[in-house]
């Protein structure tokens, strides 16, 4: 099938955008859970992503623990396992550090502890990045798998296998999270705590615990996204920085507080990023993201799925 070159480029860019967007979507969901439940701007989210990448790396190429699964299944399982590991790390971090400046602990002080949160998460980011340098070394690494350079073909359109896999996993996880938040008791508790923590306490919901779960879940999911990305790209301890902006743009785009919104927001960011190259110079790819981001914020501040509420 011979397509005119522009159409071919268009479709290819769209495909790439959707798949890259899938990875972004997963990251955004992690951030969205945290932001939606705790109203915390977590500057260290990118660094938990980085942790996920390294966990997945060490489970496969690094220490070869999962080598028996082969180069195809190994990286995928490793990515999944990165989730619980970083969940545990997040649990400890919240218990000992973050909980002191968020949620109820901070509700009394001005700005509901917003100031403390920012500094704490920035400090956390510094510790993770630089601690990562000390422990993990500065040499860029990546997971070696044939998935990242093979593709499935739909006519002349090539779909990178590693990206497709991460997209499918992202969708599956979104569904799982959605069900968790909507159907399970813990999930509902999380949503209640997010909506109105004072009322939630009166309802007998342990808000502190709800926040801890939200935080750990949020960083864990983002870590899985990292683990999946580890097959597609190389990384070093400071890589988290590059993704923080994308994550925030996606979450705000989709609507703060909405999980589904975070998914669509991340996806949209991916699509905008890749398809902008059709009309703009490649160098302005990320500027295109910001322009779209700003446009959405101005025209529809609650994002695609969020809700603006302000009681007078």
């Amino acid at each position: 099938m011979d397509l005119p070159p522009f159409l071919l480029e268009f479709l290819q860019a769209l495909a790439a955008g959707v798949m890259v967007g899938g990875a972004y979507a997963l990251m955004c969901i992690g951030l969205g859970i945290i932001f939606g439940s705790m109203r915390v701007i977590n500057f260290a989210q990118g660094d938990f992503l980085m942790l996920g990448m390294y966990v997945a790396f060490y489970l496969t190429t690094g220490y070869g623990i999962l080598a028996f699964l082969g180069p195809y299944a190994g990286p995928i399982i490793a990515a999944f396992l990165a989730g619980p590991v970083v969940f545990a790390v997040g649990w400890l971090v919240h218990r000992f550090i973050v909980s002191r400046v968020t949620g109820l602990g901070a509700a009394a002080s001005e700005g509901a502890g917003a100031y403390g949160q920012i500094i704490v998460t920035l400090g956390l980011s510094l510790i993770l990045q630089n601690g990562g340098l000390i422990v993990l070394g500065s040499t860029p690494t990546g997971i070696r798998t044939p998935l990242s350079r093979s593709s499935w073909e739909i006519g002349p359109i090539l779909l990178n296998q590693a990206r497709v896999v991460s997209f499918l996993v992202a969708v599956a996880l979104v569904v799982a999270v959605y069900l968790f938040l909507g159907r399970t008791r813990t999930g509902k508790g999380l949503r209640a705590a997010a909506d109105n923590s004072t009322a939630a306490i009166y309802m007998g919901i342990d808000v502190d615990r709800a926040h801890r779960i939200a935080w750990s879940l949020g960083v864990g999911i983002t870590a899985i996204a990292g683990g999946l990305l580890a097959s597609s790209q190389s990384f070093q301890p400071y890589v988290g920085f590059d993704f923080v902006i994308v994550m925030y743009a996606g979450v705000v785009l989709g609507g703060l507080g909405s999980i589904l919104g975070a998914f669509w927001g991340g996806l949209l960011i991916g699509i905008v990023q890749q398809m902008s190259t059709l009309v703009l110079p490649y160098q302005l790819q990320n500027t295109a993201i910001f322009v779209v981001f700003l446009l959405i914020i101005f025209l529809r501040p609650q994002g695609l799925f969020g809700q603006l509420s302000e009681r007078t």
């Binding site: 290819q12 790439a16 890259v20 040499t139 090539l158 990178n160 790209q233 070093q236 190259t277 790819q285």
Partner: protein, 413 residues
């Protein structure tokens, strides 16, 4: 009465002056010691590069001292002082200023790998009249009219002018056909930008090459698909890759493979030492890299074999890259300059560097061409080295007198 903040502020300021001034007493060189500096990123995203530089410099220092130190100064030991340029131009400048303030006896130095860091550092060292050697090759570094900056790499413009004709020559020799069209894929950092500018401004035309695809991106690249799609649809005879960061290298090279453009179907010519790092092989795999040709200002060549073996054994690195080699050579250049100056005096050392013309010795063996700088601090008549990935190791293949293997132009198999 409310306490004045001034007292608190004053006190805090003094206390801090105390803590920061842990090394407030400037280091005074022992009588039998000559001190030189290295300012390089040791933390932050470019930490790996700085560490490689340090490895090379350390090895040179050890050799120099084992062989008797600076003979003109009665066997004085050469000591290396290292400062971390960190991850920003501000930190790099501070590092330079700190070194100079705390170490007034420095006579020379090397740094700072990233061209913007080098620019910031040399603003300080120029005013302190400290001669600085650097491998950074952006034209601006030696285009400011400074007297104390010496660029061991040929400028980007010069590299561009050399790379293309040689690549085409190789193509003609190997494949029997001269390429007619070319594509450029590059990031927009300073070095690739200065490399590509003269090419776009008529350089390619002069060689009879038509530019059919020209893509510049801002690193880090998120996905290479749209880029490579454009390359695929325009089908250049060969592709010029000007990439400086590992993540981009991986994305681009793997995407080329995915689009069935690798392994000879689309010959690649690169520029810059990031294309020859061991981690690239670890991350991508030797098979994808086979035949990749890249030009670089400095790479181990004929005559270096023994030194490289020592480096490999000492550092357990699989081979030596430009970072280590340059830093190694810089130390030897400084040693030669101090010998010629006959004194641990930075101005005399700078003079010695300006007038030197080394063709033999470890310094000359670390850089292609004679070690000779013009009044701007640039080297002239420097042959461009080409290295090619062969069997999982990038080896120098051009020019013939420096080559350790023969080049070949990848053909479709």
């Amino acid at each position: 009465m409310r306490r004045r903040p001034t007292r608190r502020e004053f006190g805090a300021g003094l206390a801090l002056a105390g803590t920061v001034g842990l090394r407030w007493r400037p280091a005074i060189a022992q009588t039998n010691e000559v001190r030189v500096a290295m300012i390089a990123p040791l933390s932050g995203p470019w930490a790996r590069q700085g560490q490689l530089m340090r490895m090379g410099a350390d090895m040179a220092i050890e050799e120099i001292n084992d062989k008797g130190g600076i003979k003109a100064l009665g066997g004085a030991k050469l000591t290396l002082v290292v400062a971390d340029a960190g991850d920003s131009t501000e930190k790099a400048k501070n590092a330079a200023q700190r070194l100079l303030a705390q170490d007034p006896d420095l006579v020379g130095g090397t740094g700072a790998w990233l061209s913007s860091f080098t620019l910031a550092v040399t603003e300080v060292t120029e005013r302190a009249q400290l001669p600085m050697l650097t491998l950074s090759y952006s034209d601006l570094i030696t285009g400011r009219g400074f007297k104390y900056v010496f660029q061991t790499s040929p400028t980007a413009g010069h590299q561009a002018a050399e790379t293309l004709p040689t690549a085409m020559q190789l193509a003609e020799t190997a494949a029997g056909k001269r390429p007619k069209t070319v594509g450029i894929l590059m990031d927009n950092t300073a070095a690739p930008m200065s490399f590509a500018k003269p090419l776009r401004d008529g350089g390619l035309e002069k060689l009879g090459l038509k530019l059919v695809v020209d893509q510049v991106f801002t690193p880090p690249l998120s996905d290479a698909t749209p880029l490579i799609e454009k390359v695929r649809s325009s089908r250049p005879d060969f592709l010029l890759l000007l990439l400086s960061a590992m993540p981009d290298n991986k994305l681009v090279l793997e995407k080329l493979d995915e689009f069935k453009l690798s392994k000879g179907r689309l010959p690649l010519v690169g520029n810059g030492s990031p294309l020859g790092t061991p981690e690239l092989k670890n991350i991508i795999g030797a098979d994808l890299l086979e035949g990749l040709l890249f030009s670089v200002a400095d790479w181990p060549f004929k005559g270096d074999e023994e030194m490289v073996e020592r480096f490999k054994k000492r550092t357990r690195e699989p081979w030596m890259t430009q970072d280590g080699l340059s830093a190694y050579g810089d130390m030897w250049i400084l040693k030669e300059a101090i010998e010629r100056a006959g004194a641990a005096d930075r101005i005399k050392v700078a003079d010695a560097i300006r007038t030197m013309n080394l063709t033999t010795g470890p310094a000359a063996l670390s850089f292609p061409g004679p070690i000779r700088f013009d009044e701007n601090g640039r080297r002239q008549d420097v042959p461009m080295i080409f290295a090619q990935w062969q069997n999982g190791v990038p080896v120098t293949v051009f020019p013939a007198e420096l080559a350790l293997a023969k080049p070949y132009w990848l053909k479709e198999s």
